[in-house]
Amino acid sequence: MASVPISPLPTGGYVAPLPRSHTLDYVGPTGTMFAIFYKNLVLTILTLGIYRFWAKTRLRRFLWANTQVDGEGFEYTGTGKELFLGFLKAVAILVPLFGALQVLELLVLDQTMIGIAALSIFRVVLIVGLVYAGTFSARKFRMSRTTWRGIRFQQTGSMWRYAGMALLGFFLTAVTLGLYLPFLEAKLARYEMDNLRFGSAAFRFTGEGKTLLKVFLWIWVPFVVLAGGIGVLALYLFSAGQLADPKAQAMLGFLPFAIMIVLYPSMFWYMARAARFRADNTHLEGLSFSMPRLTGWRIFTLLLGNSLIFTFSLGILYPLTTQRTVRFWVRQLHLSGALDVDAIAQAERGPKTGEGLAGFFDIDVG
């Protein structure tokens, strides 16, 4: 190819928007989805649940193959056996652990309140920690079994560090009345992305918690003001001796619901902004991601549509909701910039078995 002289940017400061360089789409046929779902369901029932690892594998293979970049699908190379062995491994570790915990619980239950409190805190910390560790470990497995043009993804990083970050983050979130939450989300996203590779190409996450905080404050401040208002009102009624008045009680009981009704829509708005924050700040070398069309309203209609479909079909059309969800999120994601695909080299092989912890806690990672 002849070399083209690169002209400097026009001095007017105009930068053309990056063209859509690669296309991303989900093209799974709905009929095949239904066939897979119902075959899986029947076999899972007939095998008393043991087939579920193979069922999950089958569904993923379909979803992966039909999620296509530039018309070429991803490939899920994991097997049901790997998931099954991963699950057995988790059972072998967790069942004795929980057994010991239960014996401990029996021993302190009639003892001091402090013992009970300490044990239940320990339980929560343990379970939340294991759930997050399991989620990350499942990511490692899934990424190592995801290929495109034969090149593997690779998630590095430590599941225990990830779990530790989450636990510390939840503690700080509680202490700061929720204000730390956006920082935690940014931190976890950074850890996930900065440790993710596609072959030899590394993902990068450039988002900062304070950006998300600005969004979060829009729902946090009204919530705190409203909740604080109710508190003040209750205190006033209490000091005025009117707390026993049934009318006052009814009002106090209703107000929290009123807050929920007012803040419920803003939840979808925040979900959309948080998803955009994650996408917009993710880069793969020269390739950038974004979700320019994602709004809270669109998430709301997606979820509402799914629950209507599920409810009115008595669950029969469940595969349709999966189709809608996957198609929605894949089509929201927009790729811009360029990636020199041919230059990307293979990544190392991943773990031998996978997702045991996540499977144990029934975390659905899709």
Partner: protein, 349 residues
Amino acid sequence: MAFAGTYSDGKTAARHDVGVTLGPFGLTISGTTLPPMSWPIRDLVVLPADGRAAPLRLTRRSNDELRLVVADPVFRELLFRQSPSLDPRHGRVGRTIALIGGSLGVAAAFAAAFWFGMPLVSRPLANAIPPSVEARIGDSIAEVLIGRQETCENPDGENALDTLVERVLAGVEAPVDISVEVVKSPMVNAIALPGGRIIIFAGLIAKVEGSDEVSGVLAHEIGHIVHRHSMQALVRHFALSMVVTAFTGNDWKIGGAAQFLIQNAYSREAEAEADDTGVAILDRAGLRADGLAAFFGRLQKDHDDSHLRYIGTHPPLADRQAKIARGHGGKTVLSDADWAALRTICKQD
């Protein structure tokens, strides 16, 4: 005839357009950007795919990072006709049957191991638990079981109860630590908890006619304690719930243990053992031992299930009644005055 395909070497994400020819011993792959290759049939692997329209994806046993994709369905047909064993549908029915059969076999093996293995290990395991631990477990369960219900503490009634317990205990061979309490509840039931705690529900005292029936039930519960039945049942429950937890991820709670003990704690053998021991205790104590049988008779006559939990939880009453039938020998455990006092145990004074 050469079919159009794409090839990736698994080293980089570069994609090569190639022509693929099917020969008697394998594939020949050639492209402008590659040296020609040949893939022997026995080294070929067809990757699983769903849907008829999905292109055929191939790799090699000797290097599973290679990818050869051929979209033309004619190629797939030719290949599978030449080597039917490459077709993913080959032997699928057999595999499915083997899968279902295997799973059911595994489940059956688990169930059998449980059914036959647990009775063998539950007794030694239960006996290995130190008494102090057992007492704590019993207290924990009692807390859940009694909950907000009051214990009956009318002083005259309690005195009568103490007298009854003392007289029955006289027939117990090895000393056991036992505490008996009456709980205000309409249930017609009594329960022996680990650690020697016996709880009699007030409904039972209201239901029976005569102190010998109370002593019969009490001796039966003491029989459970002597044989450590409740601890064995809990060990079984523990093991079962662990297996269930493992497969469903559900959590096991102490409330479940309490409910379990009320509803289906003991096996037929355990009940029979407790019946025999109970009667033996009363015989040794020189007391009338026909109370339990009389109580069973009363329960059978009355089929109001809401109050008669005893029926649902124990083996057929008629059989048990027949097995422990006794004459009227022995002393009645309480005087009429004491019996009258015991019936008032739940009355506030």
